[in-house]
């Protein structure tokens, strides 16, 4: 599927110092996780990571580096706490990691996209899925979310009188806290939560997302051309139908129904 993705015209790359630098290196360095079942999961058998974000990364690499470029990606791990810094200091060329575009983050980095409209959702232990249906049922319950994530604000604004709200440094710890009964629900964007429930039947995502989380490609503010370049790439993906195909092969496996209408790259949320 990746192999059929578009390749950028020579002059489009030449027009972008950011893309030219990647082409000269012969490698795209992506910040993100390789531990999300739906969006980006490492293959332990030596192949490329798989998932929506991983596929997008490989399509971008191919777009810049040409045929076979999809295999020339270096995956660097980032967490919610380290993403901005990694983009700012040029450790990575871009971050593609269920990365919600927020005003706070836009102050320090820039975002291409959105490329996917996700939303903050609620994850519970599967046996509680009957009793907890959404944020309105979280009053008085103990909650967990990731440090420095969009979940913190979502809880403040949409959950009346929650119990204790814990923040932990990564997804693994949050899932452990939920499964072990330390908390009753895990609030974060759906992309991450869907990955968890795809990997682990003990946890389930309940209800619909209650805050919009548009995912963007995190880029350094120093390379202004990158924004336009990646937005053009995203638009080409959508136009060529590759976006739909990628959605069906990844997110479509865990969400019922047809692929949604893709967002318009470049139209940042207000």
């Amino acid at each position: 599927m990746i192999a059929s993705g578009p390749v950028a015209a020579e002059d489009a790359i030449a027009a972008s110092p950011w893309a030219t630098a990647i082409k000269d290196k012969g490698q795209l360095i992506r910040g993100g996780t390789v531990a999300n079942q739906v969006f980006s999961l490492a293959s332990t058998s030596g192949g490329q990571p798989t998932g929506f974000d991983a596929g997008l990364t490989q399509l971008l690499a191919k777009y810049i580096l040409g045929d076979g470029g999809e295999e020339k990606v270096e995956y660097i791990d980032t967490t919610v706490e380290t993403r901005e810094t990694m983009v700012q200091n040029g450790t990575v060329d871009c971050v593609i990691a269920t990365y919600s575009i927020t005003p706070e983050r836009l102050e320090v980095i820039s975002f291409a996209g959105p490329y996917y409209l996700s939303g903050t959702a609620v994850q519970v232990r599967t046996e509680d899925a009957e009793t907890i249906a959404g944020p309105e049922d979280l009053t008085g319950l103990n909650l967990v979310t990731q440090a420095n994530s969009t979940g913190i604000q979502a809880i403040e604004e949409h959950v009346t009188d929650p119990g204790k709200v814990e923040t932990l440094p990564n997804n693994e710890s949050c899932v452990a806290a939920l499964k072990q009964g330390r908390v009753d629900a895990y609030v974060l964007d759906q992309g991450v939560l869907l990955g968890n429930s795809a990997a682990d039947p003990e946890v389930t995502v309940v209800g619909d997302p209650f805050v919009d989380d548009p995912y963007g490609v995190g880029l350094s503010q120093d390379s202004e051309d990158a924004l336009e370049f990646v937005n053009t790439f995203l638009q080409e993906l959508i136009d060529s139908g590759a976006w739909d195909a990628l959605w069906t092969a990844t997110i479509g496996e865990v969400i019922d129904g047809e692929a949604p209408e893709p967002p318009v790259p470049g139209e940042l949320p207000a």
């Binding site: 490492a42 332990t44 967490t79 380290t82 450790t91 990997a199």
Partner: protein
């Protein structure tokens, strides 16, 4: 064994004493075995002894995945030690120098970095400095804090070593006309460095343990790789136990080397 109070805390036991020691030994073995059995039972009762949850750590790809992490751990530890140890020596010399300014700088540095958590230093490199436009690759975001913290600790190690070199050595060096600086460089330091070698190896153990903070800056050291592996296998206790055992084994080897060196030096000191 050297003579010390531990050797005479109790007499060589007589027949009655021996019986009592035997009895207490049996009781304590039973107690320890009981504790271990209870622990294992807890594992079993919660289904954590399921062989399927353990054999995965023999899979070549998972081992390679953790191996990458171990390689990262060893790299940052070595890089930090190579800079921190000589730096610590310089700090120790500054602290022992006759210039009160140098002494003040060294003391402030040492007390500061001994007294604050390395985690805070790592956070400074991750979250504070980028706000001022100062950023480092994640390798250095981990290694520089390790250097700063370790330099303070090793400075104290070197200082103790220099002070432990016999005073007569300083005087002898002065008697043959060496300047203070030359005496330090060619007489005292070589002995001091040999003297502190075991303590330096223990400082290496501390550095290796501190490298787990790579978990915070997303550097792929062993602890971080373990975390990612948890997401892939979902076997949390098993993964973190395997990771911890790797740390313990490496550190145990280093500690053994330090003890052996120490014993050899003590034996030599007694012999001369």
């Amino acid at each position: 064994m050297s003579n010390s109070a531990t050797q005479v805390l109790f007499d060589a036991p007589g027949p009655k004493g021996r019986r009592r020691i035997l009895l207490l030994s049996i009781l304590s073995v039973l107690a320890i075995a009981g504790l271990l059995a209870a622990g294992l039972w807890q594992f079993h009762a919660n289904g954590q002894l399921d062989p399927n949850k353990w054999v995965v750590y023999l899979r070549a790809d998972y081992l390679a995945f953790l191996g990458q992490g171990l390689w990262g751990t060893l790299k940052v530890t070595a890089a930090a030690a190579v800079v921190a140890f000589p730096f610590g020596l310089l700090l120790a010399l500054a602290r022992l120098s006759r210039s009160s300014l140098l002494r003040a700088i060294a003391i402030t540095w040492i007390e500061f970095f001994r007294g604050i958590p390395m985690l805070l230093v790592v956070y400074a490199f991750l979250l504070a400095l980028p706000a001022f436009g100062v950023t480092f690759p994640r390798f250095w975001m981990l290694v520089i804090p390790m250097i700063l913290v370790s330099s303070a600790a090793t400075a104290e190690v070197f200082r103790a070593g220099i002070k432990a070199v016999d005073r007569g050595q300083h005087e002898a060096a002065a008697a043959i006309g060496l300047s203070r600086r030359d005496a330090m460089a060619s007489v005292v330091l070589p002995q001091a460095v040999r003297l502190v070698l075991p303590s330096l190896i223990l400082a290496l153990v501390t550095l290796l343990k501190d490298s787990t903070l790579g978990y915070v800056v997303s550097y792929n050291e062993l602890q971080f790789q373990g975390k990612t592996l948890v997401s892939i296998t979902r076997y949390l206790v098993q993964t973190y136990l395997v990771v911890s055992v790797i740390y313990i084994v490496i550190n145990l080897l280093l500690t053994r080397i330090a003890l052996a060196l120490d014993a050899r030096m003590k034996a030599r000191a007694v012999a001369s």
